[in-house]
Symmetry: C2
Subunit: 365 residues, 2 copies
């Protein structure tokens, strides 16, 4: 067994996930390293921020520099000099959100590269082969993330395709050093979520993800489907809420029984000057920080907060200095990792609900 639950507090779980590149304490947030780099951070920065696992994007790495090149150079870990676990997505989400001229069939999805317009075809087997080449610790099956607003018939048919693709992925890679996670879809129809969960959890995956949330729906609907879907997943396997989210969303996920999260929010926001602190979000561009000698967050122990004032960070940002992106990103990633770490500690202490309410009082959305 690669996953062990070590504590529970109501539905919230603390666990340990064993991978080929080491153990991960859950709940965990995975910084996104789209193109074999968590934007602006070095591996040392990530280790300083206490990152345990990062995410790589199959779609991007397949297009540039190419998964076969990365395989030939010793795999993604060697390529980017990152010694800890990596999860790769299937590339499907980027095909639907970024690539052009998509054509979905039962066999897979054809698309044109957003970089050079070249044509490509992703099948379940193809994305498994790419992820094998990348050598990630956790691979994801190809799925269709149903767009928000899709009707019942479209969603039902899509659930069927996602299950068919999931089976083909598992058959292509029945077992090995790399873990493989299935993905539950079903849009915003509870019976389809149940149907998808039943079908996907019937396939012996190493973990199960909830896909298709945070795709444009109202927050209340996201929360409703999160709490509805999480209990449909096996208790003894890691649960991953894909592409989520804001600090409070992550705590909602943990509260619903989810173990793993990823999102571009802390890295992307950092590059836009939006920074997360124990007192809430701040925008470092604001005039009020011009003479502010205090650190971003006195409760944070990251390199940025140990060494620099808000006044300096504001200056770097308004002067478009490259260092701004790194110092901001380092801080935001540290904030997200501290958040899940504190959640984990509170689960052990049986005080998760207090912690959840505390964060809810700071981050209302």
């Amino acid at each position: 067994m690669s996953f062990k639950l070590v504590a529970k507090d109501k539905q919230a779980r603390a666990g340990v996930l064993r991978t080929a590149h080491g153990e991960i304490n859950t709940p965990i947030f995975m910084p996104v390293g789209t193109q074999a780099s968590v934007k602006s951070l070095s591996p040392n920065d990530l280790i300083e921020a206490k990152a345990q696992i990062i995410l790589g994007n199959t779609y991007h790495l397949y297009l540039r520099p190419g998964d076969e090149l990365i395989r030939d150079l010793g795999g993604l870990h060697n390529f980017m000099s990152w010694p800890k676990p990596i999860l790769t997505d299937s590339g499907g989400f980027q095909v639907f959100s970024l690539a052009k001229l998509r054509k979905l069939t039962r066999d897979g999805v054809e698309f044109s590269s957003h970089i050079d317009g070249s044509k490509h075809f992703f099948t379940p087997e193809k994305v498994m082969q790419i992820q094998k080449n990348l050598g990630s610790d956790i691979m994801m099956v190809l799925d269709e993330c149903v767009p928000y607003g899709a009707d019942y018939d479209y969603t039902r048919s899509s659930v069927g395709i996602t299950t068919y693709w999931a089976k083909r992925c598992r058959e292509f890679y029945p077992s090995g050093k790399q873990l493989l996670f299935g993905i539950v879809q079903g849009g915003f129809f509870k019976d389809l979520r149940e149907e998808s969960a039943r079908q996907i959890t019937n396939i012996p995956f190493d973990g199960y993800a909830i896909g298709g949330l945070s795709v444009g729906e109202p927050k209340a609907q996201m929360i409703e489907f999160l709490y509805f879907t999480a209990p449909l997943l096996p208790e003894d396997k890691p649960r991953y809420l894909m592409g989520v989210g804001k600090p409070l969303d992550i705590l909602e996920g943990i509260r619903a029984g989810v173990d793993m999260f990823d999102c571009v929010l802390p890295t992307r926001n950092a590059r836009n000057g939006t920074l997360y602190t124990s007192k809430g979000k701040i925008n470092i561009k604001r005039e009020e920080y011009k003479r502010d000698l205090s650190p971003l967050d006195p409760e944070c122990n990251c390199y940025t907060c140990r060494n620099f004032s808000k006044a300096y960070l504001r200056h770097l940002y308004t002067s478009r200095e490259l260092l701004a992106y790194r110092l901001n990103t380092l801080h935001n990633i540290t904030y997200f990792l501290n958040l899940v770490n504190q959640a984990r500690a509170s689960i052990f202490n049986g005080t998760f609900e207090n912690f959840y309410n505390h964060i809810k009082s700071i981050y209302t959305c």
Copy 2:
């Protein structure tokens, strides 16, 4: 005495320069931190690269965030969290190269900000006050860097103004914790160089700089005036060749008896993918590095060379990843600092000429 010569090898000198923020072993290269940041690097990176002193640009810091703001926040060292020495230029060079609507009079120079078009007036006293506010360890006098191609009469008159300004600077700051360097100009007329050197070295500065070289003249002319001007400066004071240069130019400077150098070349080139190695310059964009698992420079011990392959650096660069700028800059700065460090060691060993010839065989220009 703030400067002590500790070894000589023909004209090449090794020294120690004492400042308010510590000692500097010369010859030394000073990375340029234009806007209170050496582009893409943190203070920790600079210390990892063994930087002993960095340069700040008075013109930029005066305009943004403002020297009075920096003074109020504890000075430039505190502001940017850099504990070691800082040299600030006078701002004159940027006024002539970057600002708009310049108007030079005997009293100073009026200009419009390149950022917002606002009008400003730099006098010798004004640039001293700004540098006092910044709290740099070494301040530079206001001078006019005569453009290449200026005729004899213009240059002679400019030399007079530069001397007049130098006196006013020294009178404004007769002595104190901050060192103050004079600047020799004189364009490409030997008698004017002699005249400027005589006048400037008559004023009791803590060091003397050679200005007005590397401004567009042919390389041979630069070298000729470097070797002509350096011996006109006092033996017992540090000598600084402003804005120079390429690796071989720096070694020519050391060979001519210069102790200090600064240039945006290693940082700017790094951001363009041009990297310096013990085998010469390379452009990391080139197709030939696509599968190259070797480090940039096997003889280099920087973080970049210890951890990453050329293939990865090429990928980061061609993917426009922010990390590319930092890893490249860290390497180039390390190369330049190693270069002057090795030069220093060779001066102690009496083998500087060999080292100079070695670098000359690699970097023909």
